[in-house]
Symmetry: C2
Subunit: 331 residues, 2 copies
């Protein structure tokens, strides 16, 4: 049994194909009688519209795509939830894809979405180079979440990473710490700004910044943590660039028989569910990922349905969530 097409429905309902098309999309210029006949025929035949045909003919897909760099990082599901909740209120479909931590995959995912003719694309946690992203943005409205990109070809939504990093660092300083290290995310999205915020806060307080470079993963956090404690013995507090690397640092601290927060205080970034586990209790900076996701969708909608063309770059303020991993240093 080949799949029924619109022609089958039309024949069965005793109307023309065009009318079926209208009826299916809820046009008001279809008589209740015809509408009903169509509805019945659709049900009887189990008809489903062929999206490729529809998209091709209409040159629209009513579909938004999300490209996530790393499904393993618990921050991204939060953003995606925000996107999802915003899209649900609209009449759009949502496709998600993961780049699996790989630039080439990211480029491929972007091309696929563009080639599919998606109406809009949201990229989050992307590592892809700016020119490639901008090239994509020329084909399809594009918003980048959680990576600051100065470009008038696309929109961005970010938390203020510098402010967030300052919040974290200042919190440690206020507690009385003087020897505060930073585990950076290297060149990952947001990492340079967080590092800058940390360095700025340290300088302002007349303290010496000490940075070890990781990559926003737990394993890189372990490596950078080892490096930090090896070279910076006085260290009594660490600000890690994200929660995942903070967990790596926590492993190092545990491994060295040190106690948190008695011997070392620790702050993360992203306020993921892992930070919130009572057993972990990681003090962390909250980017408000859901809100970032919702804003991303609204930016897309502005372009799609209200014809905005000039770029917008939104920024929201992060907040510090204090938990059990930070305390005043032992004397």
């Amino acid at each position: 049994m080949p799949k029924p097409t619109m022609d089958d429905v039309a024949r069965r309902a005793g109307v023309s194909r065009a009318l079926v098309s209208l009826a299916l999309r809820g046009s008001p210029k279809v008589s209740p009688r015809s509408r009903d006949a169509v509805r019945r025929a659709v049900a009887e035949l189990g008809y489903r519209p062929n999206l490729n045909a529809r998209n091709l003919a209409s040159n629209r897909t009513r579909t938004l795509g999300v490209i996530v760099n790393d499904l393993h990082n618990p921050f991204f599901p939060v953003v995606t939830d925000g996107i999802k909740s915003a899209v649900d209120a609209l009449d759009y479909r949502l496709l998600v894809t993961s780049a699996f931590l790989d630039n080439e995959n990211e480029a491929a995912a972007l091309e696929t979405f563009i080639d599919l003719g998606l109406d809009g694309i949201i990229m989050t946690g992307v590592r892809l180079d700016q020119p490639s992203i901008e090239r994509g943005a020329r084909s399809t409205p594009l918003v980048v979440v959680s990576r600051p990109i100065a470009s008038d070809a696309l929109d961005t939504v970010n938390n203020d990473d510098v402010a967030g990093a300052r919040l974290a660092t200042q919190h440690l300083i206020d507690l009385g710490h003087r020897h505060i290290g930073h585990v950076s995310g290297g060149d990952a999205a947001g990492a340079p700004l967080r590092r800058a915020g940390y360095v700025g806060a340290m300088r302002d307080a007349g303290l010496k910044p000490v940075v070890a470079v990781g990559a926003f993963t737990e394993s890189s956090g372990v490596r950078a943590g080892e490096e930090l404690f090896d070279s910076f013995e006085e260290c009594t507090a660490v600000f890690a660039g994200n929660d995942l690397s903070a967990l790596g640092v926590l492993d190092v601290i545990d491994g060295r028989g040190l106690a948190v927060p008695d011997d070392v205080s620790l702050v993360g970034y992203d306020n993921t569910f892992v930070a919130a586990l009572r057993h972990v209790g990681l003090t962390s900076v909250d980017q408000h990922g859901e809100r970032l996701g919702r804003i991303a969708v609204s930016l897309l909608i502005e372009r799609l349905e209200h014809g905005r063309t000039e770029a917008r770059h939104e920024m929201i303020s992060p907040t510090l969530v204090r938990r059990e991993t930070t305390a005043a240093p032992k004397m």
Copy 2:
């Protein structure tokens, strides 16, 4: 500048459109000369094939879809990684979508993938009712990962949940525990079998099973954990149906001022990265999610490229990963 079409490429390369089509897909029956002309024209024009048109005309998409129920559960990214690595070796595209823990979304995601004409679909962690899944499987080859479904309409890949639960429970029994509770995932995929494995192992050892029902999330683990410790005071060990709920139980244990493993031993399931954090060190059962994912892809390929039509149900053996949360009970 409207996007260049195949006609533009053909004109520029001085050949016919059909030839461009062949050349693009690497057909051997194109002269090197033409092939080169096409390649050059494509590059100069920045031509990209319109996938909707291609899919419509060829009635194939060379695309596989993955539907994940809950992006927040760190188990699924592991499965997805396996899928991804298997797909990379083949010439298929991969689309992922999340059902965001919601049956209706799952149904919608499935329909979207079918309506898009994807060549094959993998569902993992799905909660959708079996008839709906089977209906989907009638349109598109479908494999369900990590949920046992006895059906000859679709393929499944599972770890042996009963054996895994027995492994976990027996480990606790072998350590000397007699009062072992179970936090179940309720009717979530795999949960009933894990519960059955636990009950079986307990019965075999002449011990009384005590079950609290959760839902495979951390928060449900907290609720079920409270319930368990409230009603089962002698309890010295808990087998949680997955790592997420084990983390919830861990919160409860911490909250009651109990120590792990000195006062209570704890075992999870899935062996996610959170279990492996040294700071958590959760003993857990490993389903070998990557392998599940790779097998899922190979099942799809068997149907797609080797014409298999009868259903296959694969089962792999889980293994226990011992860490710091399990020890002999204090006397």
